[in-house]
Symmetry: C2
Subunit: 187 residues, 2 copies
Amino acid sequence: MTQETRTALLDAAEQAARARGFDGFSYADLAEAVGIRKASIHYHFPSKADLSAALMDRYHAVMQQACADIDAQNDVSAGRLRALIALYRAALNEGTTMCLCVVFVTGRESLSPDVTAKITAFRAMMTAWLTKVFERAAKDRGIIGVAHPQHEARATLALLEGAHIAARAEEDVAQFDEAVALLQARC
Amino acid sequence: MTQETRTALLDAAEQAARARGFDGFSYADLAEAVGIRKASIHYHFPSKADLSAALMDRYHAVMQQACADIDAQNDVSAGRLRALIALYRAALNEGTTMCLCVVFVTGRESLSPDVTAKITAFRAMMTAWLTKVFERAAKDRGIIGVAHPQHEARATLALLEGAHIAARAEEDVAQFDEAVALLQARC
DNA sequence: CGCTATATACCTACCATTAGGTAGTCGCAG
DNA sequence: CTGCGACTACCTAATGGTAGGTATATAGCG
């Protein structure tokens, strides 16, 4: 039971954070969402800092696994990149939520240093994975015009997160699609 | 005098919002920053919604003017795009602040519909300007490989905002530079 | 000119609500 | 009969916002 409640809390918190930002949801909101009393949340997550750290840990793990799955299911670089774009597109939830990482960066000042470090780690992981994709592309020629894999990787991560913002700004996935259209066309 | 205080409040609010997000600053913070009593702020901005609307109005006007200045000082497309990149880079303030627009989108749910509309208007303005730059590039060949000006514009805006996030995430402007390196190389 | 009226730009003193967090209690499964 | 996983009942600080007062400046007018 403890695990179920904990997971439910993380789910609700992630949903809320991605929709409203770190400062945009409270323990009271989570309590109502999960069907538990506000004070009981402190049993699972003593402080909001603990909660957000757990949130980042899980997000990191899930995304890492998702990247591994993409690798397993796609041999060529182009397929991998297309799959990542699709992953980010799905994360939008019709323009109602954004990447946890993006949301946390905006509220950086409210975060514990612990969480800040986890954000850095997450970005490093994604950049490393993307760099490998572009290195592969330089060989298999699956993506057009790849010259500098690491710069491509950083640009792609920025583009995807920026496209999230664009879509969220107008609650319209089409904004995401237009922003990534050229990248997609290179695959 | 009224104008001075009002401007000081907008300055403090913009700085705070760009550093900590919409939900990350309070009237109390502004009061201390400006040297006025908290309640007096309501004289200038009855509600926080009014404040944020004024903030977006000013931001929109300032950026529009900045784009016009860029146009006046640069004839070729490449120069204009380089200047915009420099503008966004400067807005980072060494990785401590982000674009107002990005920050407001994250806290979208806390915003009044009024402000949401202003965000859309701001993005439309920037996209239109960028589209013109890329249309010009298609003629003067100042930027490499421009095929679809509007998609280039949307991708560029997303990239710049994403690069802001990258830099803010680690409080390091170098992250911005790496993310925009390939775009810069095309100029 | 002097006298009133109004508006400006602040102030002090509150308000209700919500924030994250704490202390201590209790039912119940092992 | 112990300890998990909840609960009730609080707490303090902070939130955005309101009510009403006040010093100063300006405008209208006889």
